[in-house]
């Protein structure tokens, strides 16, 4: 693994996306539009102030997961993945290159989502907006790396698509959106404590209501960060140069 090869891969992924303006537009504004729809649904109630932060975690996470896993899926299907792995490209170069490229997009996407939520959709944030943005970006990068992990772990295209409900839906169901996590039955609450999306939602809600101090949010950020690193490492290890 070398910085040159990692950065070349990140640059290559970004050039690919730059050739497709519609994808960039969808990627950058779709989560924001979905959050806007939720804000509109609840416009006659006060519910958006409690649901809003969770939506800020949910949509960028899911969109980044889907986009990343489909992009790497394409690379597998067109044979370029096999070609690159027969060349002196480290498996880590590939996974980290993708993480950097999509991480950059995640920063832009989350900034738009946070900006629109706060200044247009009227989401009230009692804590620091910068902290809110930091958690939102980490959450979107998490979606990217889990998408990469799913794609590296899968052996076929169908498996990749199946990993999405397997990896994403349980996290949404147990993340505290449907039922606060402390009211989940014994067992499920413990499981939800281990899921990274739960921590992203908790952190965003904590910043929105300013109910916890910065150290708490930093701790949650650390947990998300560890998941990101773990996904990159496990993704790099499970990617196979030889296939049947």
């Amino acid at each position: 693994m070398t910085p040159r090869r990692t950065l070349a891969t990140a640059g290559r992924v970004l050039s690919q996306i730059l050739h497709d303006p519609r994808t960039i537009a969808l990627l950058l504004v779709m989560p924001s539009l979905l959050i806007g729809l939720v804000a509109w649904i609840f416009s006659d109630t006060t519910a958006f102030s409690t649901v809003g932060p969770a939506m800020l975690a949910l949509f960028p996470f899911v969109v980044m997961f889907v986009v990343t896993s489909i992009t790497t899926l394409r690379e597998r299907r067109t044979g370029t993945l096999e070609r690159m792995l027969s060349m002196p490209l480290g498996k880590g170069d590939l996974i980290l290159g993708y993480t950097l490229a999509f991480g950059l997009l995640a920063v832009l996407q989350s900034s738009i989502a946070v900006g629109l939520s706060v200044w247009v959709y009227g989401l009230e944030i009692d804590g620091s907006i910068w902290l809110l943005l930091a958690v939102a970006v980490a959450d979107a990068v998490l979606g990217t790396t889990l998408g990469l992990l799913a794609s590296a772990f899968a052996r076929t295209e169908f498996q990749v698509v199946q990993f999405m409900p397997a990896l994403v839906f349980p996290q949404i169901l147990l993340g505290g959106i449907f039922l606060p996590r402390d009211r989940l039955p014994v067992g499920l609450e413990e499981v939800s404590d281990w899921l990274p999306l739960s921590h992203a939602i908790d952190a965003l809600q904590a910043v929105a209501t300013d109910s916890e101090d910065a150290a708490y949010v930093a701790g949650e950020l650390l947990i998300i960060g560890l998941w990101i690193v773990a996904a990159v490492v496990i993704g790099s290890i499970t990617l196979r140069r030889r296939t049947p």
């Binding site: 044979g79 370029t80 096999e82 060349m87 140069r241 296939t243 049947p244």
Partner: protein
Amino acid sequence: MGIIEAPAVVVRNLHARRGKEPVLHGLSLTVPRGIVMGLIGPSGCGKTTLMRSIVGVQIVQSGEVSVLGEPAGSASLRHRVGYVTQDASIYDDLTVRQNLLYFRAVLGAPRSDVDRVIEATDLGSSAGQLAGSLSGGQRSRVSLAGALLGSPELLVLDEPTVGLDPVLRVELWRLFHRLAATGTSVLVSSHVMDEAARCDRLLLMRQGDILADDTPTGLLSTTGTVDIEAAFLALIAAHPVTPDEETP
């Protein structure tokens, strides 16, 4: 490097499956250095599986594959072997030049190499076009250009001339021979028999086994035929398929 240079490829008793299907059953062969070696045989005879095993991307069941004196798939071989898959493996949403610039960066080849391979594959006029907008023949040339970057010692080319017009095909074969003359070993597969005559040496392959390993002229004289296709048919007649080979 020893005093006696190891052959480009040595395969001993190779067994491999493609998916779940056994494709290679104990195949052995040697590819000498510095020649254009043709791998000729009908579709489905195992050419691609053999080439994938040599490049080191195929899981093999048993047997030895050594490339340039090292086990196939070794990390040190990854910039010494150029591989072109049957379907062009390039990024359709990048331009020709962007594809090659990325491959170059990964290989650590000199910057000037990109222009050199664009010229060698006659892609100058389409260098700025998106690879996805090119014809099949142009796309396979982009794929080939990528394999020429960094001047690898061994080129493994899986049907690189399919779908190319005759003039270009002749040009590419000239290129393969120029590369061989400078010491590059070229292993090129084809199911087109008339291309076989252009090779320095031929491996005739059928149902996962090597039927013959000879020069084109040697092959014609031992079989008493006048073209490679007839020689191939004569060899098949001399080596009838055993019943257990026919069962899938």
